[in-house]
C-alpha cells in the first residue's frame, strides 16, 4: 500500500472516531502549548531580572548600612546609618586606579506634585556624578551640575515616567515641582532642570526624582552626624572596566572598617554580579518550577493520549484481524496505526505550538499587577514538547497494533 493509501485510511479512522481523536488532540495541545508558554514566561522572567540589574549601570559596587546598624527603613534609616558622604569622598580620594567614580545618595519615598498633578516617586538625594555612575542619559535639559552641588540648589531632574505624569504635553524644564516628605509634613519646591531618558525594562530610574543632596542637607540638620559628616544611605562605587571587583570590594571594605574604627562591618558591600547571581537564582528557580509544571501537563496530556490510543487499538483488534485475514502483513497494520498516531500527534503538536507561541507573544509586554511580563520563546522547548508528544502518540499507537499482529488473525478476530 502507498503512503497515500495509509494516510487516507488514517484520516478516515480519525474522522470515524471523532470524539476520541478530539480528546487525543486536546491532550496534546494542552501539553505542548503549556510547556512552550510556561518555559517562555520563565525564561522571560530570568531575562527581565538580569536586564533590570544590568540597567543599574555597569561594574558597580553597592555599599549600604548593614541590617544591624539600620533597624529602620526610609527616612528613619537616616538617623542610624553609619555611612557618610565623607566615606564616599575617602573611597574616591584613595587614588585606587581600579575605581573610576564614587557617588553617595539618600533615597526616600516622596509625593511629587506639579499643579493639579501628583505622583508617588522615589527621591534620590545625590550629587552631580550620580548620572555617570548609574549610566543615566539625559533626554531634556541637563543633570545636576557640580555648581548645584556646591550651592545646594533646589533643582530637580525627573525620571521619564514622573515627567510624563506631571507635565503631560508640557515642556517640564523650568517648571516648579514640589516634593512632599514625611507624609506631607514637609514640602519643598524645586525647579526642574532636566529629564532622564527612559530606561528599559522595569528599571526604577523612570520613577525617580534626582535632587542635589546638599540642598536637602542645608534644611535638615539631623542629616549630619555629631562630627559634622553628612549621612547617606548608599554609596555606589564604579570600578574601572576590567578591574577585579572582588579585590576592589575588599579594599573598600578595609578602608571603611578603618574609618569606622571597627573590626566587624557595619555595612554590606555587594557587587552587581552578586545581585545578578542572587536574583537570577530566584528567577532560575521560578523558571524551573514553571518548566516542571509544563512538563507535568505534557505528561498528563501524554498519558491521556496513550490511554486513548491503547483503548482505540484494543477496540480495533477486530479490524486488525479482518485486515490480516484478507492478507495485510504485520507491516501493513503497524504502518496504518503509525500513520494514524503520527497524523494525530503532528496535528496536535502543531496546534499546540501555535497556541503556545501565540500565548507567549500575547503575554509579552503585558503588565500583571505592577510587574511587566517578558517572555522568551525557546526553540528547545518547542522541540522537546513536540518530540515528547509525538513519541508518546507513536509508541502508544504502535505497541498494541504490533501485539495484535503477532497472533494468528483468527485470535485477533475472536477479540470482541
Amino acid at each position: 500500500m502507498s503512503v497515500f493509501d495509509s494516510l487516507r485510511i488514517a484520516v478516515r479512522a480519525i474522522v470515524a472516531n471523532r470524539l476520541r481523536s478530539l480528546l487525543t488532540l486536546l491532550g496534546l495541545v494542552i501539553g505542548v502549548s503549556s510547556v512552550i508558554a510556561l518555559i517562555a514566561v520563565g525564561q522571560g522572567t530570568q531575562k527581565g531580572v538580569s536586564d533590570q540589574i544590568r540597567g543599574l549601570g555597569t561594574d558597580l559596587i553597592f555599599i549600604e548600612p548593614s541590617a544591624a546598624a539600620t533597624t529602620q527603613q526610609g527616612a528613619g534609616a537616616l538617623t542610624t546609618t553609619t555611612l557618610t558622604q565623607a566615606d564616599a569622598l575617602a573611597i574616591a580620594a584613595n587614588g585606587n586606579p581600579a575605581i573610576q567614580a564614587v557617588s553617595a545618595h539618600i533615597t526616600g519615598e516622596t509625593q511629587a506634585i506639579a499643579g493639579a498633578n501628583n505622583v508617588g516617586a522615589e527621591s534620590v538625594f545625590t550629587s552631580s556624578n550620580y548620572a555617570e555612575v548609574r549610566d543615566l542619559e539625559i533626554a531634556l535639559g541637563s543633570f545636576i551640575a557640580p555648581s548645584h552641588d556646591d550651592a545646594g540648589s533646589l533643582v530637580a531632574v525627573l525620571g521619564s515616567r514622573v515627567a510624563e505624569t506631571l507635565y503631560p504635553g508640557i515642556d517640564p524644564i523650568g517648571q516648579e515641582i514640589r516634593l512632599s516628605f514625611l507624609a506631607g509634613r514637609v514640602v519643598f519646591a524645586f525647579t526642574v532642570i532636566g529629564v532622564v531618558r527612559e530606561v528599559g525594562g522595569a528599571a526604577d530610574a523612570n520613577d525617580q526624582v534626582f535632587v542635589p543632596i546638599t540642598g536637602l542637607a542645608n534644611r535638615f540638620r539631623f542629616l549630619y552626624t555629631p562630627t559634622g559628616d553628612l549621612r547617606v544611605t548608599q554609596i555606589d562605587v564604579q570600578t574601572t572596566p576590567g578591574a577585579d571587583t572582588e579585590e576592589v570590594k575588599q579594599q573598600v571594605s578595609d578602608l571603611l572598617l578603618f574609618r569606622h574604627n571597627r573590626s566587624d562591618p557595619d555595612f554590606t558591600i555587594e557587587s552587581q554580579d552578586d545581585l545578578l547571581d542572587a536574583a537570577s537564582e530566584v528567577a532560575n528557580t521560578l523558571s524551573i518550577l514553571l518548566g516542571v509544571i509544563g512538563g507535568i501537563s505534557l505528561l498528563v496530556g501524554g498519558i491521556g493520549v496513550m490511554n486513548i490510543m491503547l483503548v482505540s487499538v484494543t477496540e480495533r483488534t477486530r479490524e486488525i484481524g479482518i485486515r490480516r485475514a484478507v492478507g495485510a502483513t504485520a507491516g501493513d497494520i503497524v504502518n496504518q496505526f503509525v500513520t494514524e498516531a503520527l497524523a494525530l500527534s503532528v496535528l496536535g503538536g502543531i496546534i499546540g505550538i501555535v497556541i503556545g507561541v501565540v500565548a507567549s507573544l500575547l503575554v509579552d509586554g503585558q503588565t500583571v499587577g505592577d510587574q511587566e511580563m517578558t517572555t522568551v520563546i525557546q526553540a528547545w522547548s518547542i522541540a522537546a514538547a513536540f518530540g515528547v508528544s509525538a513519541g508518546v502518540g507513536l509508541i502508544s499507537g504502535i505497541y498494541p497494533a504490533w501485539r495484535a499482529t503477532v497472533v494468528d488473525p483468527i485470535a485477533a478476530l475472536r477479540n470482541e
Binding site: R12, G321, V326, G327, T329, G331, P409, L413
Partner: protein, 248 residues
C-alpha cells in the same frame, strides 16, 4: 473473471499436486484445564477446480478445519500445504501473501469493516495487493456487479441485508483472483431463497474454473457440490453426494 477477447485462454492445469493438502492435521483448543480435540489427525486433498462441501453436526470441527486451510489459524500438529509449500514453514509475510492472493476466505460472520462502504471493503484487498487507486475502484465495481450488488456500492454493511453482506464478503474474497474460495456457511444466515441464490453464484464461479470449499449445514445445498465430506467429532470422511443414504 475477465475473459476479454484476444486474451489467451487460461492454461489447463495438468499437474497433480493438490492445490491444498492436509496431512495429520490436528487442532487442540485449551481452555484452562480443559482440552478440546477440535480436529483429530486428518488428511485431505483439494484439487484445482474442485467444488467441495463439508457438512457435519455443530461442533464437529468444520470451521476449525476451514480456518486452518485459510491460514488464519495455526494447527497444533500436522501440516497444511498450499501446492507443495508447507504453510507452517513459511514466514508471517509469506502467509499473508498467500491469504491475499491464493486463499479467498469468506467468514461465517462476514467480517466486513463497519465504517467502510461495500466498495471500500472490496478495495481493501485490492489496495493490499498494490492496485493503483483508479483501477481499484473499477475492479471493485466490477466484482460487486458480478455478485449482483451494482446498486449497493456505497452502502455500509449495516445498511445491507444479510444476503447482500454475504455477497460483499464473497466479492472481497474474489478480489485478487484467488486459487480457492473458502466459504464458512455462506448460506447459514440466509433464508432458503437467498441461500439458493448464493449457491447459484458459487456454482457459476466453479463452472468458470474457480475452486471452492464450502462448509454447510444444509443437506440440499451440500448435495449440489462436486465432492462431499462429512465431519464428526473432529474426523472427516468423503461420501458420494449422489447417494441419498450418504447423509443419514
Amino acid at each position: 473473471m475477465s475473459d476479454a477477447p484476444g486474451e489467451a485462454p487460461p492454461i489447463e492445469r495438468t499437474d497433480c499436486v493438490p492445490l491444498l493438502s492436509v496431512r495429520n492435521l490436528e487442532r487442540i483448543y485449551r481452555l484452562g484445564e480443559q482440552t478440546i480435540h477440535a480436529l483429530r489427525p486428518l488428511n485431505l486433498d483439494i484439487h484445482q477446480g474442485d467444488f467441495i462441501a463439508i457438512a457435519g453436526p455443530s461442533g464437529s470441527g468444520k470451521s476449525t478445519l476451514l480456518q486452518l486451510l485459510g491460514l488464519v489459524d495455526s494447527p497444533t500438529a500436522g501440516e497444511v500445504r498450499v501446492r507443495s509449500r508447507v504453510a507452517q514453514d513459511l514466514g508471517q509475510e509469506q502467509r499473508a501473501a498467500l491469504r491475499l492472493r491464493t486463499l479467498g476466505f469468506v467468514f461465517q460472520a462476514f467480517n466486513l469493516l463497519q465504517m467502510l462502504t461495500a466498495r471500500q471493503n472490496v478495495e481493501i484487498a485490492l489496495a493490499l495487493a498494490g492496485f493503483p487507486r483508479r483501477k481499484r475502484r473499477a475492479r471493485a465495481e466490477e466484482l460487486l456487479s458480478a455478485v449482483g450488488l451494482a446498486e449497493r456500492l456505497e452502502h455500509r454493511p449495516l445498511q445491507l441485508s444479510g444476503g447482500e453482506r454475504q455477497r460483499v464478503a464473497i466479492a472481497r474474497a474474489l478480489a485478487n483472483e484467488p486459487d480457492v474460495i473458502l466459504a464458512d456457511e455462506p448460506t447459514g444466515n440466509l433464508d432458503s431463497q437467498t441461500g439458493r441464490e448464493i449457491v447459484n453464484l458459487l456454482e457459476d464461479l466453479n463452472r468458470a474454473g474457480q475452486t471452492i470449499v464450502m462448509v454447510t449445514h444444509n443437506l440440499e445445498i451440500a448435495r449440489r457440490a462436486g465432492r462431499l465430506f462429512l465431519m464428526r467429532d473432529g474426523r472427516i470422511d468423503e461420501v458420494d453426494p449422489g447417494d441419498p443414504r450418504s447423509l443419514d
